[in-house]
């Protein structure tokens, strides 16, 4: 599903966010990106949905070469990706329904099917009764659940979550993780950047630990136990 080889990302400011990242994420996995602040987790996620183009190396997401893809290919790729942000990025001037239906409208769904689909995904996150509410009337946890509903509304094969539990208390965070795990069980590949390592105990998955823009450690979850894989740290050429 995702292959990257010696991926480098340098911002116009000169800051190097990723320096020689090499990893593969198979279809249907639940992958955690961990590491200290500035390790490159969010930058890597941005690369995955085409928010930034890598400076060098190779990155293929769902068969699309992100470095050389045209704008239309990037748009097509994004339509098959659900993105969940730490600050959820809900539109506060729009109702919950409009927020959840936005990806469906982008994909050209007929208006008469939108309400039914929005109700269905909101039912999944337990917010069916808040369809016509505005996000401001919801708690932080509820807002994040709406963001999950929005990300899953188009049944994407890949879900990218950038610290979705960062602003939530432990109980709410576990509920959010339950929803993401359930989406993974239903077939979506989930890649989640997180600092909340305690969640890994109750919601296990593959772990990719990043450090200073490179992959420092890779642990694959296999039937209830974690299998460590040796990783040669790539030292970028200077």
């Amino acid at each position: 599903m995702i292959q990257m080889n010696r991926l480098m990302l340098r911002y116009p400011t000169g800051k190097t966010a990723l320096s020689g990242m090499t990893m593969n994420i198979e279809k249907g996995r639940f992958a955690y990106l961990t590491g200290e602040s500035g390790a490159g987790k969010s930058s890597l996620l941005r690369c995955l949905y085409g928010g930034v183009r890598p400076s060098s190396g190779q990155l293929t997401v769902q068969g699309v070469d992100v470095r050389s893809a045209g704008q239309s290919q990037i748009r097509k790729l994004r339509r098959d990706i659900g993105i969940i942000f730490q600050d959820h990025r809900l539109l506060f001037s729009r109702t919950v329904f409009e927020n959840v239906a936005l990806p469906l409208r982008v994909q050209g769904w007929k208006p008469d099917r939108l309400v039914a689909r929005a109700e269905k995904v909101l039912e999944f996150v337990g917010l069916k009764d808040r369809l016509w509410s505005f996000p401001e009337a919801l708690s932080g946890g509820e807002q994040q659940r709406v963001a999950i509903a929005r990300a899953m509304s188009t049944k994407p094969s890949l879900i990218l979550a950038d610290e979705p539990t960062g602003n939530l208390d432990i109980g709410t965070a576990r509920h959010v993780m339950d929803y993401l795990m359930e989406l993974n069980r239903q077939g979506s590949t989930v890649i989640m950047a997180t600092h909340d390592l305690h969640l890994l105990d109750t919601h296990p998955g593959d772990i990719f630990r990043l450090h200073a823009g490179a992959l420092a450690e890779e642990l694959h979850f296999v039937q209830g136990k974690v299998r460590a894989q040796e990783e040669e740290s790539y030292v970028p050429e200077i």
Binding site: G51, S93, R94, E98, V106, P111, L114, W132, F134
Partner: protein, 297 residues
């Protein structure tokens, strides 16, 4: 508008459009743009109404303007000689000696069937020659006709000449008005464009989110194009409504001048013109939205 939520708090509610969508936020910037564009369209509408009144008053709609030349105590050979001379004046398309029977019929009709009075008047009436100016009748046609008539001791109907002059002035005013309308239209486009640019800034998160979801350029631009068009059409509608108070106020005066002015004729031009400038303003505002939705690192 608010409603009570399940947890007892007041929740904001908005009127919903078909399909469950709410109206886009309509803030101070939009109101200001609406008022400014409305006033501009109203001013343009008033000027065009004024032109309509002037044109109606001078019978500018008539294509068959003719000059009449009168020769007192005219005998047939002199009248014919004058007609021949007039036919040679540059810019004259046709010359006709008005037959006495035609004058009698007209006089009868005008006097309401008083045949005796008509007969007396007819005897005192001068011989009449009708001159039809050509399509390219020059500015000096009237003066040339007057000079030719004077040589025969005849006179020319001055009222008709003044009417033609007034029509020429109105035609020039119309050209200027088209130019002014174009300039005002451009100004309105810029005003709406700036307003929508502010709206774009205020809704940058929405635009960014749509792009992250894979929306195409026109999907992102369409709400703003619709908003611009509706804003312009709304301003046009209000401007049209505001035309009626002054129109009613000068109604008696227009009636006295026999000027036929219709406010309804400006409804579609103002509505569609407003929508067009609004749409063009939105197009201008959204053209500057960077079409690139990824950045090269």
């Amino acid at each position: 508008m608010f409603r009570k939520s399940d947890n007892g708090l007041q929740e904001r509610t908005m009127p919903r459009l078909p399909g469950g969508f709410s109206l886009p936020p309509f803030g101070l910037h939009q109101w200001l743009a609406l008022v400014i564009v409305c006033i501009a369209l109203w001013a343009v509408g008033l000027l065009w109404l004024g032109l309509q009144a002037g044109s109606s008053w001078t019978q500018g709609w008539r294509q068959d303007i003719r000059f009449h030349i009168y020769l007192e105590q005219a005998d047939a050979p002199r009248l014919q000689a004058l007609a021949d001379k007039l036919a040679k004046v540059p810019g004259v398309a046709g010359v006709r000696i008005v037959p006495i029977e035609e004058t009698r019929t007209w006089l009868d009709t005008w006097l309401g069937g008083s045949a005796g009075v008509a007969r007396e008047l007819l005897a005192a009436l001068p011989g009449t020659i009708e001159v039809t100016p050509g399509l390219h009748g020059g500015e000096f046609l009237y003066a040339d006709l007057a000079d030719t008539a004077k040589a025969f001791g005849a006179s020319i109907n001055q009222g008709e000449a003044h009417l033609v002059q007034a029509q020429r002035v109105i035609a020039r005013v119309e050209s200027l008005l088209w130019f002014g309308t174009l300039i005002i239209g451009l100004a309105m486009i810029i005003i709406i464009s700036n307003t929508l640019r502010m709206t774009l800034l205020a809704r940058a998160d929405e635009v960014q989110l749509m792009r992250l979801l894979g929306a195409g350029e026109w999907f992102v631009r369409m709400p703003f194009l619709l908003e611009g068009g509706l804003l312009g059409a709304g301003a046009g509608m209000f401007a049209w409504l505001l035309l009626w108070p002054p129109l009613i106020a000068v109604g008696d005066w227009l009636q006295q001048l026999n000027a036929d002015v219709s406010g309804f004729a400006l409804f579609l031009p103002l509505l569609l013109g407003g929508a067009l400038v609004g749409w063009l303003g939105a197009l201008l505002a959204t053209t500057r939205m960077a079409s690139e939705n990824t950045s090269a690192a």
